[in-house]
Symmetry: C2
């Protein structure tokens, strides 16, 4: 029975890591939809969010069943509860990429992001991508050292968001209020995606070291 | 032992309801700090968020201990897992009220919100207040009927947020980009506070009826 418990837990962790891959794809596609003003791709990301929610519901259901039937204690219990939390993080990241896609869709056929800001948004999306990838590997390998590096990437995300705000608030901003608001919200969405990746990594650190980061 | 289990669970639910009261206070005070450009009150809300986080950590710790020592099954297990999620909702609402306070603090001595928009922000804060209050009562009384009413309040919040966006995007907007961005983010923060209240209510509905709202 214990062996079966760990087998099932391993499957849940594998599915969590696979889901992180799906979410990475959603973030990348929503960014492409945004920068290319691609309505069809935006719709695909928005529709895909329901599929992500279904997968998260499924993982959650199985984690609860495992809790109920195997009644783990101590470290095993903590691991399962952490897993439930991380599923929640990935679900929110999926929501946030759908929010990015919705801003893209709202402005089609115009691009929501003025071209001088494409590099900043592309950098934020790349940092977010790298952070989700790192979080997935940290979960898969319980890699506490990589978790520390992830905090540096979070600082980079913070720097990019500040750059973005400086630009939209500068006297030389010439694109009007609407793109400024879109960009302020987009900056917040990418930043929150990064926050959830950090939160996943911190849960792993807590599981491994018993210390809250 | 079972009696002690339900006693401990009741205490956890009581603490969750009390925490909702604290969060309500934080939302109200951050709104006052925002509309009155009150730096001292803004600081108090920001400092108070750490206290909210400590309370949430404490509730979580006790819920985990109860899980580990009493190993509830079926409905009892679901209740405890739902409780852990609701603690997370309240923690995020606390964060969001600190975000409101930070916008207030950033613009002091100027008010972040131009006076024509005070009524809209005040209404959003009042709806948020009412939604947190309703969520707390729904948790305390497992009141599924009240949960349905909460969805109406969420529609009202949505309407207010749309109003706000229409105003800051209208041709007659004369307050510049900076307040527009502040307001877009504020709208998002109040809306998210309402979302978390809805999420708490839905978890109660799920516990009572077994159906996802």
């Amino acid at each position: 029975m214990r062996d079966s418990y760990y087998d099932q837990l391993d499957t849940i962790v594998d599915d969590l890591v696979a889901l992180a891959g799906t979410v990475r794809g959603a973030v990348a596609e929503s960014t492409t939809a945004l920068l290319d003003a691609d309505a069809r791709l935006a719709e695909a990301v928005i529709a895909g969010d329901a599929a992500i929610d279904e997968v998260t519901d499924g993982i959650e259901e199985r984690a609860l069943l495992l809790l109920a039937t195997q009644q783990p204690v101590a470290g095993d219990l903590r691991q399962l509860v952490a897993t439930l939390r991380m599923v929640g993080d990935l679900e929110r990241m999926g929501d946030l990429s759908a929010h990015v896609a919705k801003i893209a869709r709202m402005r089609v056929p115009d691009p929501a992001v003025p071209s001088p800001l494409h590099p900043t948004i592309r950098s934020m999306a790349m940092v977010a991508d790298s952070m989700i990838d790192a979080a997935a590997r940290i979960v898969a390998n319980r890699d506490v050292v990589a978790a520390a590096r992830l905090e540096d990437e979070d600082d980079e995300m913070d720097r990019l968001r500040k750059d973005l705000f400086r630009t939209i608030l500068s006297d030389r901003w010439e694109h009007g209020v609407e793109p400024a608001i879109d960009l302020a919200l987009l900056g917040r969405y990418y930043e929150r995606i990064g926050d959830h990746a950090v939160s996943m990594a911190r849960r792993v650190v807590y599981l491994v070291t018993g210390e809250l980061a």
